[in-house]
């Protein structure tokens, strides 16, 4: 009957109870703590990451770009996107609006945005993912067109966004993400869609 070495454990007699208890304790300790500990070490030492995007502010940027929508965190787009958005020509026709700036202001805002763009950080999680998700030969002009951001909102029905008078567009991040502006936090645990408090039950 007993032909495989693995079967030995079927017979309690092969190990005395004390040996077995010691072995059990060792394996339990290793199994239960080594792996999460590595995970945490990985998180703290090897990969220190903040949850959101960096909540940097710049007065000139906030006053120049914060009128019509909140002044998007620079870490939400790569610098090539900011450069393209801030070309004088594109500012003249900024999604149908005129967002022209004086040359001095434009350069200051551009410098701030590119210095803090998504690919300049490796420790703000959302920025890293945004950078990773955009193919190298693509320059998105909209944060809402970034693959990572797009995928995150695919299942949200139209009536919660476009047809929601308190939101109107996915570009209005701060209408739903309550800790976005101040903390740069975007998590499903702190979303509050206006008129749809119970969005989680409706989407799931």
């Amino acid at each position: 009957m007993i032909s495989s070495p693995f079967l030995a454990v079927n017979n309690a007699g092969r190990m005395d109870i004390q040996q077995e208890n010691t072995l059990k304790k060792i394996i339990l300790l290793v199994a239960l703590w080594a792996i999460p500990a590595t995970a945490m070490a990985h998180d703290i030492l090897g990969f220190p990451r903040h949850k959101g995007v960096e909540p940097v502010v710049n007065k000139k940027y906030s006053s120049s770009c914060g009128e019509c929508h909140y002044a998007y965190h620079p870490g939400l787009l790569p610098s090539r996107s900011w450069k393209k958005l801030l070309e004088p020509k594109s500012l003249e026709n900024h999604f149908g609006d005129n967002a022209e700036l004086s040359e001095k202001d434009r350069l200051e805002v551009l410098a701030f945005l590119t210095e803090n763009a998504s690919e300049t950080t490796w420790h703000f999680k959302r920025s890293v993912k945004i950078t990773q998700s955009i193919p190298e030969d693509v320059t998105p002009l909209r944060i809402s067109e970034v693959p990572y951001i797009k995928k995150k909102h695919m299942e949200i029905p139209r009536e919660m966004v476009k047809d929601n008078p308190k939101v109107r567009s996915l570009a209005q991040c701060n209408k739903c993400h309550t800790e976005a502006v101040e903390k740069g936090q975007f998590s499903r645990t702190n979303v509050d869609i206006p008129n749809f408090r119970n969005w989680a039950d409706l989407i799931d």
Binding site: N11, A12, G13, M15, L28, K151, T189
Partner: protein
């Protein structure tokens, strides 16, 4: 419960019953309890960096259990506790008569539960892995540049949202089943899962 296939009393404590669960099964079981709890909580509270690690551990545990189901000790083998539908129905009938037939390994009701839990966990971890590769730009699938369509990605996300809730329900049923069985069989199942064998019939 005395009819173990190859009882070997040598080295066992006086008065204890024969070995029911081998060391692997016991470590597997309690590690799974701890890790699934941690995976569930970290998932629910969006502690993402830790969540995927707990998930991987669960994945490793159930993979090991799957292998052990073929090469492990007799009581731990799937073959031992795959029962025919007739036998399963007969067990449920005897259970409702409050005179359940005794089994050395899992009884048919418990066996159903075990397969249910393992299948749920396999689906949860696999969907988590796919969702991680598609939507989070992380993990092995992302690192290996596995192309995942939006359809598959969304499906994985949906599964990974729904099944953990089902898992909670299944775990509750599992615990309830053990309580009922403990009373009906007058056997201390909890002790068997910790020490490997029941001390004495209670």
């Amino acid at each position: 419960m005395q009819e173990l296939i190859n009882p070997d009393e040598e080295g066992m404590m006086k008065g204890s019953t024969p070995m029911k669960w081998d060391l692997f099964v016991r470590i597997f079981h309690w590690s799974l309890v701890v890790m699934v709890t941690l995976a569930y909580l970290s998932g629910d509270f969006d502690i993402e960096a830790l969540h995927s690690w707990f998930g991987y551990v669960v994945m490793g545990l159930i993979t090991a259990r799957f292998i052990w189901g073929f090469i492990g000790s007799i009581n731990a083998r799937f073959r031992t506790f795959i029962y025919s539908p007739t036998e399963t129905m007969a067990y449920f009938a005897s259970m409702f008569r409050n005179a359940p037939k005794h089994y050395v390994s899992h009884n048919p009701a418990g066996a159903l539960m075990v397969f249910m839990l393992l299948i749920l966990l396999a689906m949860i971890t696999l969907s988590g892995l796919v969702y991680e590769g598609w939507g989070e730009y992380e993990g092995p699938l992302w690192q290996m540049h596995v192309m995942i369509s939006d359809q598959v990605g969304l499906l994985a996300k949906g599964i990974h949202r729904q099944l953990p809730e089902m898992l909670l329900f299944a775990v509750a049923m599992h615990v309830l089943g053990v309580i009922i069985a403990t009373i009906q069989h007058k056997e201390n199942f909890l002790r068997s899962m910790w020490y490997g064998h029941d001390k004495l019939k209670i």
